[in-house]
Amino acid sequence: MAAETVEFELVSPEQLLLSEPVAMVIVPGEEGDFGVLPRHAPLISNVRPGVISVYSQRNEVSQKIFVAGGFAEVTGERCTVLAETALPLAEIDRQDTEQRLRNSREDLADAKDDVTRATAERQIGTFEAMLRALQS
């Protein structure tokens, strides 16, 4: 029992970021965080911006990864997360993020058309979620 693992895959459109057997993952689903253990019921869920915690062993967090939203597909033996942006939490620099958040806000302020405005709004959302993730 204890040796059972879930195949965890983290995929971005540009590459396969992570693929390894883990004991448990906690995914920030749109309707609340959910943990995936071996033999989880098949599930497809939206993922909100937040932190994925990877447990290489029970009660031991091996990685914390920030994702800016995406989708998760869970089957009994596998958990696949499709994420647009994924960054290990340790690599996020608070000051840098705050700076970029300010930049995006400025972009939003002098956005002239809908496209740049939408892009700036999206970035603001991502950076705010990053900062929230850093605080927790």
Partner: protein, 299 residues
């Protein structure tokens, strides 16, 4: 008969052309390898998204009022044609082939009395299409693959198409690009993006999909419609990204082949010119000799 000097100039000019084409060929080969790697790396995401979408579409199949991206607007009056070409020339028939296919599609649609809008991705496509359908082109996106084609760029394009769709500016969206088969063969492909039509996946992907969709019934969180609402626009961007990656690889492949041919032709040309040059040179020497000999005899 060109003089010796003219011949020498021509030979050296062809030689420097050959140097350029062979350098371009090597650059294209290196870029092709990178483009292929990038296309390879993007495959897992597209595959898994296809799988999720497949199982969602199955469970949504009975619902009549599916999302508009899946079911269409119910009308087919206005078509948006997205033409993906390269920003640069010197790649054989690559751009011309894509433009020809686009023109065929546009003319078919116009004959059927539909309204057509063209969105060009890549400078060369715009330049060529402008000659025929300048009034239909709504905008051009340039330098999308510079310095590197990112998902973000494709996503921005996807969002733009989505915004236009939501504003009711078109009913059907078709993307035209060149699918990469091998370095010497690229297939110009039409792909309908909106309403979403299942893409012809490669065989192993279909097999993988068949085994997973059968036998596993998913829970959805939140409900299917909400997920589809998120998933479909994302899928649009992913499809565009994938097409642009293929297009990029095709462009480099086409350029590599074209430049290989050009290098070979230049080599042949040099050979021929050298032959003529030597022959002319010898003729001049012989002539001089004859002149000397006959002058001596006359004395």
């Amino acid at each position: 008969m060109p003089s010796l000097k003219d011949l020498r100039i021509r030979i050296s000019s062809v030689k420097s052309t050959q140097k350029i084409t062979s350098a371009m060929k090597m650059v294209a080969a290196a870029k092709l390898r990178r483009a292929q790697e990038q296309a390879e790396a993007g495959r897992p995401y597209a595959e898994r998204m296809g799988r999720m979408l497949g199982s969602l579409a199955v469970s949504m199949a009975d619902a009549k009022n599916g999302p508009r991206l899946l079911a269409g607007t119910g009308s087919q009056a206005v078509h948006l044609v997205v033409v993906a070409t390269a920003d640069r020339g010197l790649c054989g028939g690559f751009n011309t082939n894509i433009v020809r296919e686009s023109r065929r599609l546009v003319e078919e649609l116009l004959r059927d009395g539909k309204t057509v809008k063209i969105l060009c991705v890549g400078r060369k496509g715009r330049d060529q299409l402008k000659r025929y359908h300048a009034n239909l082109i709504i905008d051009t996106i340039e330098d999308i693959g510079k310095p590197r084609l990112t998902f973000e760029a494709a996503d921005n394009l996807g969002r733009r198409v989505m915004a236009m769709f939501d504003a009711g500016e078109f009913d059907v969206c078709t993307l035209i690009y060149a699918r990469f088969k091998s370095a010497i063969s690229q297939i110009v492909t039409r792909q309908q993006l909106i309403p979403f039509a299942a893409v012809e996946l490669e065989e192993d992907e279909i097999a993988a999909e068949a085994t997973t969709t059968v036998g596993s019934v998913y829970d959805y969180e939140p409900e299917e419609e909400r997920i589809l609402q998120e998933l479909l626009p994302r899928n649009l961007s992913v499809q565009i990204y994938r097409a642009l990656l293929e297009n990029n690889a095709s462009e480099q492949g086409a350029r590599m082949t074209a430049m290989d041919n050009a290098t070979r032709n230049a080599g042949e040309m040099i050979k021929k010119l050298t032959l003529v040059y030597n022959r002319t040179r010898q003729a001049a020497i012989t002539k001089e000799l004859i002149e000397i000999v006959s002058a001596k005899e006359a004395m």
